[in-house]
Amino acid sequence: MAEKKQLRIATRNSGFIDPENIDSYIAAGGYLGLAKCLGEMTPDQVIETMKASGIRGRGGAGFPTGVKWGFASKYASDDKYVVCNADEGDPGAFMDRAILEGDPHSVLEAMAIGAYAIGGNKGTIYIRAEYPMAIERLKIAIKQAEEKGVIGKNIMGTDFSFDLDIKYGAGAFVCGEETALINSMEGNRGEPYTKPPFPAEAGYWDKPTIVNNVETLASIPAIIVKGAEWFNGIGTETSKGTKVFALAGKINNVGLIEVPMGITLQEVIMEVGGGVRDGKEFKAVQTGGPSGGALTYKDLDVKIDYESLVACQSMMGSGGMIVMDQDDCMVSIAKFFVEFTMEETCGKCTPCRIGSKRIYEALDKITMGQGSLEDIEKLKQMSNAIKDTALCGLGQTMPNPVLSTMRVFEDEYTAHVVDKKCPAGVCSDLLEFVVVDDKCVGCTLCKRVCPVDCISGNAKEIHVIDQAACIKCGACLDKCKFDAIIKQ
């Protein structure tokens, strides 16, 4: 990589400092942002800086952070809360965990800045209990920050005080939705409620509350220190700054990347990500996890920002990017994500509870070769109806994997229902394993490995697979050294 495509703002310290030593963070310019706010800026100026920077929520929906803070600052209350949403749950996403494990103080500092801006005094980090190392490092960070006097009573000798605690989630996906998260923090079932009132008015314990994602928070000290204009100068017209993505799936450089908004998908996959594994053909990338959608080989020139992704029926999401190649079946992928949402729906609203089940059943039917063109139409109708009627973000975005894969790969859906074929060769009910006669040398390896004894043929003679008895496990295909078995 000749040119440096990545710019690390939110992840500026991860991998460079010792996360268990506050001095290491302070040496890297830590708490200077908070000091600047307390010493040189009024709360309103902090909010104006956030607005001018153009930063939008990195948790997925992309709401302008400064505007959110502005709302919360307007409501008078004895207590106001800053909540860090560390309930990262998208399959394949691990940006927040990496930041919390590598640079926990940046999150604490930003929460204190947020509290100062909105006139608050309490903060809570909501993190899932399955992130033990992140929790451990957060605890150490909070303890050290309190001992140093950068969190707690009269921070750095000023009259601003800010206390922090941690709440553990049990790993329910819906708890990443801010109203469900607040319910869960209060000890109730993790179910969302209708907005308004927005948390900025009446959130945690009915007090004004701002809920910000880990990555958003981690960027904030840098914005304060380097200024709104600096941040605003990075990115596109509507999406400023950088975004962290977790590259996973069939890509060479699996890992975290942080790139300026507006970078093209081509650059992310082929250059930063090092291309698709084993020289295979790039097919699509799922962004935004189960709430997002697939960007495809046709979208390689799309500039990654909030609006362009929505235009492709996907969304920014929290930053998971699961790369798929020619061997992935898009119907199965959609089914996988809908199954995830179906299991994670809280069940409160009907469109999400029943809709996810019905969509899953339709997709399952199609992958088994029992679907019809009518099922595809029904899928579309149901998807659109759920989008419009579900209570919270989880339900409203649940059909996205279906709609976005249909956008470009409707032919793949059609192939499943009309030709009863899975073009990618994934759906086992639609596959046949057959012997290529002129390649088979009769070595008997496949015959010996077949768990159901459905391959017949003598040594040095062409073998035959009994399709009725075959369970499509693929053991013969893996074993054959002569490429004499194909799936079709």
Partner: protein, 125 residues
């Protein structure tokens, strides 16, 4: 831990810490990635092996732990900074390779396999 009582004290502490780091720059620095993924792929073993080998060779090396270095595909990873040189990131390590790294690169400055090109610019505050 001394409490920071004013904003000026925070800035002073930062300068002192940077000064101390400068004073330490004469020693090789080994930064070992120890986030969940790195630990899972054997980062702690790599650190232990390197410490053992530097002790055996009588080298004075500073070790620090850090979080995710973003190169999941190449874990465990370490960044080695030799005095007066740019940091170099090494990946795909195990205990054995880590010892070779100490013997060759840290001791004699001779590069070994597994160097990861760093494709990012980083904001420094």
């Amino acid at each position: 831990m001394a409490k920071i009582n004013t904003i000026a004290e925070l800035k002073k502490l930062r300068e002192d810490l940077q000064g101390a780091a400068q004073a330490n720059a004469g020693k090789p620095l080994v930064n070992v990635s120890l986030a969940t993924c790195s630990v899972a792929s054997g980062g702690r073993d790599v650190m232990a092996a390197m410490k053992e080998e530097t002790a055996a060779l009588g080298l004075d090396v500073e070790f620090v732990q850090s979080g995710c270095m973003t190169f999941c595909f190449a874990e465990p990873t370490v960044v080695v900074t030799l005095p007066g040189k740019d940091p170099v990131t090494f990946g795909y390590l195990d205990a054995e390779k880590a010892k070779t790294l100490v013997q060759k690169y840290i001791k004699d400055g001779e590069l070994v396999d597994g160097v990861i090109p760093v494709g990012y610019e980083r904001i420094v505050l």
